[in-house]
Amino acid sequence: MLAVAVSQLELALRESQGPLQHLTDAIVRINQAARAAGTPQLGGELAVCLEQLQFYDRMTQHLSHLRDFMSSMTVAIESGTRDGHSEADWERMRNRFRERLISDAQRGLLDLIAPAAGAGAPSREPQLQHAEPGSIELF
């Protein structure tokens, strides 16, 4: 059933690419027409469109990571019926997935539903902060 879910995710990702491309193309054409017509007031609205369109890219990344995680779970479960998997193996899989997540909300949800082993003990190590979406840092 995990394999079914993975394949459905893959299909959903593929099916949405076409409409997104059309939408992006249309916004590009509107932007070009606005510049040619000299209508700067549209500039701000188009900037909003360009920023919001990126959420699709973000969603695609999130779903791709989820698909990869579910694929690895499928393989692990199938091989686990033969070889067995330790708690450490599942923990490593969980942590690899957590490293790929791209927002505090995604990581928080994972930590809530599937907390890390020993999550109750407070860490004495300073926690590195993940960068916020939209942030820019020059080195």
């Binding site: 491309q21 500039g43 973000r58 791209i102 993940h130 939209g134 942030s135």
Partner: protein, 120 residues
């Protein structure tokens, strides 16, 4: 006007970045992954590279590292534009020679301000 190489495996993202930059008058050339970008860079120089991280064939951090090996790109600003917010990944990018780290979704005006700053 300055020429910028935009690298992303997503055609939509390439267009979004390109639209934002062309609107400010920059010339934009595009590549779909690190391999394509590096092949281009070996032939031609640009004033700035903006690259995604997660790409097939060659990821963005490897691309940054390889570009820094080219004489023409030793001092070129290299911005990473990515959904990756992991501080360790950012440190890896910095160590590879990236000039800056921009987390998607980017605000076009803020990106343009950053581009103007690094191109000075």
């Amino acid at each position: 006007m300055s020429r910028i190489l935009a690298v992303d495996d997503s055609a939509s993202m390439r267009q979004i970045v390109s639209t934002a930059l062309q609107g400010a008058g920059y010339e934009v050339v595009m590549a779909a992954d690190g391999d394509e970008a590096l092949e281009f860079a070996r032939r031609e120089a640009v004033d700035l590279v903006i690259t995604d991280v997660n790409m097939p064939n060659m990821d963005g951090i490897t691309l940054v590292r390889e570009l820094r090996r080219l004489a023409a790109y030793r001092m070129t600003p290299l911005l990473v534009l990515t959904t990756e917010a992991n501080p360790e990944k950012k440190a890896e990018g910095k160590s590879a020679g990236a000039t800056g780290w921009v987390v998607k979704p980017f605000n076009p005006e803020r990106l343009l301000a950053t581009v103007a700053k690094v191109l000075v």
